[in-house]
């Protein structure tokens, strides 16, 4: 019981710091904010339920007024802006990612990559695009165009989530709740 709670709290903190620290290099020279990677990792490492709860806790505090979203954003403004679909999508993405890793019991790196891709890329972008479509008064295909430039980077992020999860599985097999 305590372990669930502390993992949720600490991974919520992890998402926060990944938005606060400077961008990291994706691969020689391309910087990314690691926050969305953190959200994928909540799913791949903690599993569906705890991963989603960690993201929800993070959003709870951020919307209440702490500038923890990458770029120093926070408060109710994030729900009123064009990224609202993504914000709402974050916990859902973590849940989908975690579900795939929990139930598709192949090599954890593969499962984590696929989970992160389907949850953190496909599902998240569907919700994000719907959000942008509503907020910017554009059709869905038009909104999808706005999300397109980030597609390659996001796919690479999912691959990184796979690799990190695999490394964690090797280093701390007992800690990987998604495969407990």
């Amino acid at each position: 019981m305590e372990k669930n709670l502390t993992q949720i709290a600490l991974f919520a903190a992890l998402i926060a710091i990944l938005g606060l620290v400077p961008k990291v290099d994706l691969m020689s020279g391309v910087p990314i904010t690691a926050q969305s990677l953190g959200i994928m990792l909540c799913g791949t490492v903690l599993g569906a339920r705890n991963g989603a709860l960690a993201v929800l806790l993070f959003l709870f505090v951020t919307i209440a007024g702490l500038p923890l979203l990458s770029g120093g954003r926070g408060g109710f403004g994030v729900l009123a802006g064009p990224s609202v679909g993504y914000i709402i999508g974050f916990p859902i993405a973590a849940f989908v990612t975690g579900s795939i890793v929990e139930f598709w019991r192949v090599n954890v790196g593969v499962s984590a990559f696929v989970g992160a891709f389907i949850g953190g890329f496909v599902v998240l972008n569907i919700l994000g695009i719907i959000g942008m479509s509503v907020m910017l008064d554009k059709t869905l295909p038009e909104a999808a165009l706005l999300a397109l430039p980030f597609a390659v980077g996001d796919t690479i992020k999912a691959a990184i989530a796979g690799m990190v999860t695999q490394a964690i599985a090797r280093a701390r097999p007992e800690a990987l709740l998604s495969r407990a």
């Binding site: 490394a167 964690i168 090797r170 280093a171």
Partner: protein, 246 residues
Amino acid sequence: MSDTPAPLPVIKLDRACVTLQGRKVLRDITLTLSEPRIGIIGRNGSGKTTLLRLIAGLIAPTTGQVRVGSLNPAQDRKAMLGQLGILFQNPDHQILFPTVREELGFGLRQMGLSASEADARVLQMLAAEGRSAWADAPCHHLSQGQRHYLCLMAVVLMGPQTLLLDEPLAGLDLPTQARLSRRFACLPQRLITISHDPASVRDCDRVIWLEGGAIRADGAPAPVLTAFEAEMERIGGADADTDLSD
């Protein structure tokens, strides 16, 4: 380990000051470091870790100059990698990769070696140290002392001429302390050891006492450490330390 045939570059600080978050952490540090074994002693909060980071080039001086040989450590980062290595206090805050092989190879690849060249050197060093079995081991499976060793190997592999050691023996059990100390004594590099414990720096050629961000004493170990220990005893005798440093 390779020998270092060339003379060690001199480390010069000229009125270097460091101000961090509004606080003056280092004031007017002027030093010329050329001895093979140098110790920097000070209590917690004296600025010694900042001094280490300054010499290593991880931070730049707010005013004043720092030079390692002819290089400016904060700016010539790539050249510095082969010049100066740092061993931080806590291996868990330093080990970045899951396996020993990857952790040891990281610095070499960052210096420009190809993955296969780096790997070859790593395996060569592990064999020379009698630790070939470590190659594919997860870093997590190493004991605390072994992790200190791992970090040392990772830094030495990059072939630096100077090594900065931050509290190298802190928190280790006595056998591990003895082993590591022996290892350090054999290293051909110049060693600059930062510590709050006089025992770690007693065998140095020169000891510098840092207090409140400034140099309090500088010279042979015996007199400096005697004065240091006396002062620490005096401070410890008073019931102070109630101020919040922020």
